[in-house]
């Protein structure tokens, strides 16, 4: 039984050992938070160098080979060591047990193991990059990666392989937790959408990642043993690698976006003081995105030599997968309609997400059309498309969630005006960086090129200027969030007057979250006519 004192999960034990050997999901979330922030800045550094190089048509900052290694490093780090773990391992690890009224995840020691696997994989990949890196692109296409690449392919791939186990175990943990550890009264249709999104994400983590693991193993075998699994000289097919790679990597992009969508579904009702519109549609759309997302991978291979008939099927299914995402966007907007909108920083990030994700999603439809894709594939159009979703969408959602739950996690309030300024600055910086890239793509600028014809320069200069603003937008939170930890006002249990179970606990929460399991009485987003919150349960 926890007394009325100020013991919380942060100050209960303070030794290094108690952090490195913790099984508390909240501490593990913070361990991950530190790690992914580090990797975010490593990947961001690579991006900065890329944008610097592209200011002038004939480069001059780095040579061609180094440029290849830079965009490869950017892709590998950002995809596997930042985006895929980001929300699930930080906000997910912290909030999933709290939002379902549990005291921890189903398998706490497995959770810690996941973090160590992530760190091991990250260190191995980092060493590959520090030794000189890889020049294949994050997609490791054959035969470049097996026969011709002159970098540390096997080492990089080994790091990703190990980090993959971390992903799988995290997903497994969430799935079992959500099935088995819900508080009394918490039926599935009373779960917050963030939980449904985490569940959908975990399905993908568990079912797609093993295929990547085997694919990377085969890649390493081909490179090490000089045997030609994908080698046409032996009768092999380079496209087989692409099939196996993209069977994982397309669902992987849904791993990156679904948790962010879940965060938006938490923020919008709270800052509109209204129930989420179409709750059942939103939750089933999360599942639909995860399921249909497994059926569309061939749209990355429209010009690779895939059969035309397979391409037709993949194109059709790629249109289908956009529908549940669109339904969610409409539901968020309908939630805001006639609500009492508050423009706090989390809501500003949510607005940014909705606008930028919509642009990214619509441009995805352009790419799903075979006739259009033939022209814009492997150009900056694709680069802009996926950055709108992954940065404009996923990263904005991550920052929104970080600000929303910051008082709960740290027990401190961040400085609101700095946060709002940063959100707006980031929005402008992002658009200036990436919108010109749509134009570049349609004009014909290929991706992964370090030099270009002079007539494209104006667009590259705009993009690089935007990148410098974006960099400021990402650096600012380090300062004001860091400041808030030591000097911020102490946060109450429920600073946003939200409804979820996580807000019933103190800020920061005690080590085991709840003294007794809360009895859940209603759904997750109940607000009355005046916008007052009706919490999901009485105090636990």
């Amino acid at each position: 039984m926890h007394g009325a004192g100020t013991e919380n999960y942060l100050n209960a034990e303070t030794s290094l050992r108690s952090w490195l050997l913790t099984t508390d999901h909240k501490r593990i979330a913070l361990l991950y938070f530190a790690s992914i922030t580090f990797f975010f800045f490593v990947g961001g550094l690579a991006a900065g160098l890329i944008r610097l190089q592209l200011i002038t048509p004939y480069g001059g900052l780095v040579g061609a080979d180094t440029y290849n290694r830079l965009f490869t490093m950017h892709g590998i780090i950002m995809v596997w060591f930042f985006l895929i773990p980001s929300i699930p391992t930080t906000l997910g690890n912290f909030m999933v047990p709290m939002m379902i009224g549990a005291r921890d995840l189903a398998f706490p020691r497995l959770n810690l193991t996941s973090w160590y696997l992530y760190i091991a994989g990250g260190l191995i990949t980092l060493s590959a990059l520090l030794l000189g890196g890889v020049d294949t692109g994050w997609t490791f296409y054959e035969p470049l990666s097996t026969a011709y690449a002159n970098g540390y392919v096997v080492l990089a791939v080994l790091g990703i392989f190990i980090a993959g186990f971390s992903s799988v175990l995290t997903g497994l943990n969430f799935i079992v937790t959500i099935h088995k550890l819900r508080a009394p009264g918490l039926i599935w249709y009373r779960l917050p959408v963030f939980i449904w999104s985490t569940y959908a994400t975990s399905l993908i983590l568990v079912l797609a990642t093993p295929v990547l693991a085997m694919t990377l193993l085969m890649l390493a075998a081909e490179r090490l043993l000089h045997v030609g699994i994908f080698d046409p000289a032996l009768g092999g097919d380079p496209l087989l690698f692409q099939h196996m790679f993209w069977f994982y990597s397309h669902p992987a992009v849904y791993i990156m976006i679904l948790p962010s969508m879940g965060v938006i579904s938490e923020i919008v009702p709270c800052f509109s003081r209204k129930n989420l519109f179409g709750y059942k549609f939103v939750v089933w759309c999360s599942i639909a995105i995860a399921a249909i997302g497994f059926l569309v991978w061939g749209h990355h291979m429209f010009v690779s030599g895939q059969s035309l008939y397979a391409s037709l099927v993949f194109s059709f299914l790629s249109y289908a997968v956009a529908v549940p995402s669109a339904i969610k966007v409409f539901n968020w907007i309908a939630t805001m309609h006639k609500g009492w909108i508050r423009f706090d920083a989390p809501m500003l990030y949510a607005f940014g997400f909705i606008g930028l994700f919509t642009v990214g999603g619509l441009t995805g439809l352009f790419l799903a059309a075979l006739a259009v894709d033939v022209h814009v594939t492997d150009t900056y159009f694709v680069v802009a498309h996926f950055h709108y979703i992954m940065v404009g969408g996923a990263v904005m959602g991550y920052f929104g969630g970080l600000h929303y739950w910051w008082p709960k996690i740290t027990g401190r309030l961040y400085p609101e005006y700095w946060a709002r300024f940063t959100a707006i600055l980031t929005f402008f910086g992002f658009n200036l960086t990436f919108f010109p890239q749509f134009i570049l793509g349609t004009l014909g600028m290929p991706r992964r090129y370090q030099v270009y014809p002079p007539e494209f320069q104006i667009w590259h200069v705009l993009s690089s200027a935007g990148a410098s603003i974006l960099a400021v937008g990402y650096a600012l939170p380090i300062f004001y969030l860091g400041w808030s930890i030591v000097r911020g006002k102490r946060a109450p249990a429920d600073p946003w007057r939200a409804t979820g179970l996580e807000w019933l606990t103190r800020s920061p929460p005690p080590p085991h979250n709840f003294a007794a399991a809360p009895e859940v009485l209603r759904g997750p987003y109940c607000y009355d006519e005046e916008g007052n919150a009706l919490p999901q349960a009485a105090h636990g």
Partner: protein, 107 residues
Amino acid sequence: MSAALKRIWLCWAALLLLLATTTGAAFLPLGRFNPFVALAIAGAKALIVLIVFMELRRSSGLVRAFAAAGFFWLAILLTLTSADYLTRRDTSASWQPEPGAQPGETR
């Protein structure tokens, strides 16, 4: 308890019988159906192991759904990948040699 043991050894006998059948059937001239017969028998063996030895017959619907999920998703991978390999057509240009042509041959 002996009912449980009987069940185990009955299944063991069935599994060995299926093993003998599939091995023998491999030598029969069934043309295109050989692989289907072999995989069908393998599927039967797997179901016996899953349902009896792995206790799916006494498990909740949720556990059975989890057990089926992996195989279902594998089916997605195999089906859509095969969709490519089964439907490839020769799309060479008129000036390219036919596949399998000797050097110097043209269409």
